[in-house]
């Protein structure tokens, strides 16, 4: 029987339409073409529409006088300022409320997250109730509640709620004493900076010494002493060059002091209590993710409860906590745009609202606003990624 042997030949080249490389190229050209065509179509429509409505495109409008006032300005601003200046005011207000919100949300979130893990039944259940209520109600509703139902119902300046006769809450906002810096105050600042530098040097020295000799140095209390002591010494030498300007009721309104507008109070309150409920869950998950064996191992090495928490549990928990915490910070920053609903002058209200209404430059203004949020998002993620890298597990 003849055995038919097949001679191995090089496989036939697949036809061009079946070659994965050409296919990929074809699809990409197709997709790119589609996107470009869609873009061109939208741009041409927009151009035609703008021309018909007689709106000149471009960013020249930023130089024009704004002509409206803003209720909270961190930099100098008046009705004669330009739209560009108004944009800056809005941007700073957005950043202000975001920073305040992130600060308080982090503190509150960590406290509630730890409380949720407490062995005390009452405490852990109260924390659970807080979390479940706050995170299942829309944020906008909470902002409305704080603003319209609570802060619009506080008394007039005449019957303000007061605390120690120096903090006053009334319908115009929250009044507090304002610091007045007198001559010589710079010395205290210098002392503070010197103290911070000293503490950093001290901590580094203590770490090097501990690694070399194993001896420990009470860095925390020494640092605390330096940080409080040096400025205090400077203050005594210069004769306390800081006084407070207390708000006072004159006629129908308060004069002096600092005032926080009710919109900012409501927004910061709602943002931080709402985000805290999410942070609490993240913290809880992070701490439970550290296995109990780690604690037991630390105890068996002879560490006490405090150092165990500080040196073993928290550093490991932070690794789990930081990435989701970053996205909560981003959410908070983006949610601060809800300010527009209660007329807190953030970038959306001032720029995408009032300026857009006055100039009609929709494309430019919306693009700038989106670009601002994108940039802020990228900045926060970059910072948190850097911190995360610092805390991440160093694998050898």
């Amino acid at each position: 029987m003849a055995v038919e042997t097949k001679i191995a030949v090089a496989p036939a080249k697949p036809p061009v339409w079946n070659d994965p490389r050409y296919r990929a190229l074809f699809f990409q050209v197709l997709v790119l073409g589609g996107v470009v065509l869609l873009g061109a179509y939208l741009v041409s429509n927009t151009m035609a529409n703008l021309e018909r409505q007689g709106i000149a495109s471009g960013f020249g409008f930023l130089e024009t006088t704004a002509g409206f006032s803003i209720s909270q300005t961190l930099v100098e601003y008046s009705e004669e300022s330009s739209y560009g200046r108004a944009f800056l005011v809005g941007l700073l207000n957005t950043m202000l409320v975001s920073i305040i919100g992130i600060f308080f949300a982090t503190i509150l979130g960590f406290i509630i997250g730890v409380a949720r893990l407490s062995r005390n039944w009452l405490i852990s259940n109260l924390a659970a109730v807080y979390i479940e209520i706050l995170r299942n109600i829309p944020l906008l509703l909470q902002i409305f509640f704080w603003y319209f139902a609570v802060l619009r119902n506080v008394p007039s300046p005449k019957n303000s709620h007061s605390l120690f006769d120096s903090f006053f809450l009334n319908i115009r906002g929250l009044y507090s004493p304002a610091p007045v810096f007198e001559a010589g105050f710079w010395l205290i600042l210098v002392a503070l900076v010197a103290g911070i530098v000293g503490v950093v040097v001290l901590a580094r020295w203590a770490r090097v010494r501990q690694e070399r000799t194993g001896e420990r140095f009470p860095v925390f209390f020494t640092s605390l002493g330096i940080l409080i002591g040096l400025p205090l010494l400077a203050a005594i030498v210069t004769g306390f060059p800081l006084s407070w300007n207390y708000p006072e009721l004159k006629g129908f309104n308060f004069v002096g002091g600092m005032v926080v507008i009710p919109e900012l109070v409501a927004l910061a309150l709602a943002l931080s209590t709402y985000t805290a409920s999410f942070i609490a869950e993240i913290v809880r998950a992070g701490i439970t993710a550290v296995s109990h064996g780690q604690t037991e191992a630390a105890y068996s090495l002879g560490l006490r409860a405090g150092p165990t928490l500080r040196l073993v549990v928290i550093p490991q928990a932070l690794r789990v906590i930081i990435p989701p915490l970053t996205s909560q910070y981003l959410n908070l920053m983006k949610n601060s745009s809800l300010a527009a609903a209660i007329a807190y002058p953030d970038i959306v209200l001032v720029f995408a609202g009032t300026v857009l209404m006055q100039t009609g430059q929709a494309v430019e203004i919306i693009s700038i606003t989106m670009a601002v949020y994108l940039t802020l998002s990228l900045l926060i993620s970059a910072f948190m990624n850097w911190y995360n890298k610092k805390m991440a597990l160093v694998e050898r």
Binding site: A24, F27, Q28, V31, L32, V35, L42, N45, T46, A48, N49, L50, R52, S118, R119, N120, W121, L122, I123, L126, E132, I133, R135, N136, I137, P138, L139, L140, L141, F144, F145, F148, A149, R152, K334, N335, S337, L338, A340, A341, V348, A352, L356, A362, V363, I366, T369, M370, Y373, L374, S377, L378
Partner: protein, 369 residues
């Protein structure tokens, strides 16, 4: 001879009950509330907090509240005035939808619930068909029921839509439309074609980096500019497109998480079998990946559901928008708290039950090790 003094042989000592202070109510209280001095302090503090908060709220919401009546005069103003909610109930639920047409919304609700119930019965046989109906057939039926202008139904313009009805429409359209777009985007982001990948990454990161409110602003002021002359979009439709694009980006990230969790062997096995890309994805990868991320999808839906309230900023009167509107009625000034509490309770019930369901699913779908 008494029990205490009786001696026992080694090994025959009877088991004594645990001390009374470590079992039962007393033991529980000692262990969970008063274990250490710090615990005692915390418990007392917490009890004081509860005492400060709970009785006044109950007093306000139930004991002093007014429940009956049809006018403002029925409110004694000592506690909550639920008459306000009763008077505005229809608007809060349906907006300004015409009275005689309300049956259309209710029919759609009943149909939705009736069709959805079998999905929750384990082991029901025609689940795929019902799912398909809910995703394809139901939206068409609902569209004609709500909008009308066909089959002898009267046209109801979208500016008349409102209340909880509008909230549900936006949330459901957002989720149903964003899932397929999100899947395509997620596949694109994991594609090996650089152009496709960059376009998908740019799209996803753009929408995820900006707040929904700017997206809604964009859809309300920029979409009209994008369209050729004469084409005019309905305000609701513009908002829906914005919500859809926004939630598709979030959905894409959820789906990507699932795709990444599928081991490479699954892809390789599918390719070794000679399956094409779409068959590999549709038959092997996506069924596994989507199952993994169902809790994530439910969470995205909860987020989207809460975010629908933002449409009131561009002038649509959803559940929250309606209560804001009712609060500005000159006859009913000063009932903001009641309105907010009612709407909050409504949202809370929806979101809380969804989050519980997602936790339940997470447990049920955890078929791993």
């Amino acid at each position: 001879m008494t029990d205490e003094t009786r001696s026992h042989d080694p090994g025959s000592h009877p088991d004594l009950p645990p001390p009374a202070s470590t079992v039962g109510v007393v033991g529980w209280v000692r262990q969970n509330l008063f274990a250490t001095p710090l615990d005692v302090a915390l418990t007392v503090l917490a009890l004081y907090l509860v005492y400060l908060l709970v009785p006044p709220v109950i007093q306000w919401a139930f004991i002093d509240a007014d429940w009956v009546g049809d006018t403002r005069d029925a409110c004694s103003r000592e506690g909550a005035c639920w008459v306000y909610i009763r008077v505005w109930f229809k608007q809060l639920m349906y907006g300004r939808y015409p009275d005689e047409e309300l049956w259309r919304i209710n029919t759609a609700y009943v149909l939705l619930v009736a069709a959805a119930i079998p999905l929750f019965i384990p082991g029901f046989r025609w689940k795929q068909w019902i799912g398909l109906f809910l995703l394809v057939g139901y939206p068409i039926i609902a569209f004609f029921l709500f909008v009308g202008d066909a089959f002898g139904l009267e046209l109801v313009e979208t500016p008349l839509w409102g209340g909880l009805f509008l909230t549900l429409v936006i949330a459901l359209v957002g989720i149903v439309a964003s899932l397929p777009i999100g899947i395509v985007l997620a596949l694109g982001r994991r594609s090996e074609m650089p152009v496709v990948r960059s376009i998908c990454v740019a799209f996803i990161e753009l929408w995820r980096g900006v707040p929904l409110i700017t997206v809604l602003f964009m859809s309300s002021v920029m979409f009209p500019l994008f369209m050729p002359e004469g084409v005019n979009f309905d305000k609701l439709l513009r908002a829906l497109v914005g919500v859809m694009l926004f939630s598709a980006a979030y959905m894409a990230e959820v789906v990507r998480g699932g795709l990444q969790a599928i081991p490479k062997g699954q892809y390789e096995a599918a390719e070794a079998l000679g399956l094409s890309f779409w068959k590999m994805m549709g038959l092997i990868v996506l069924p596994q990946a989507l199952k993994l991320v169902i809790p994530g999808i439910v969470n995205t839906f909860i987020g989207l559901f809460k975010d629908t309230t933002l449409v009131l900023i561009i002038g649509l009167f959803d559940f929250l928008g309606m209560v804001q509107l009712a609060g500005t009625n000159p006859d009913w000034l000063g009932f903001a708290v009641e309105g907010y509490v009612f709407v909050a309770a409504g949202f809370w019930v929806f979101c809380f039950s969804m989050s519980r369901y997602s936790q339940h699913l997470e447990k049920k779908l955890h078929t791993g090790h």
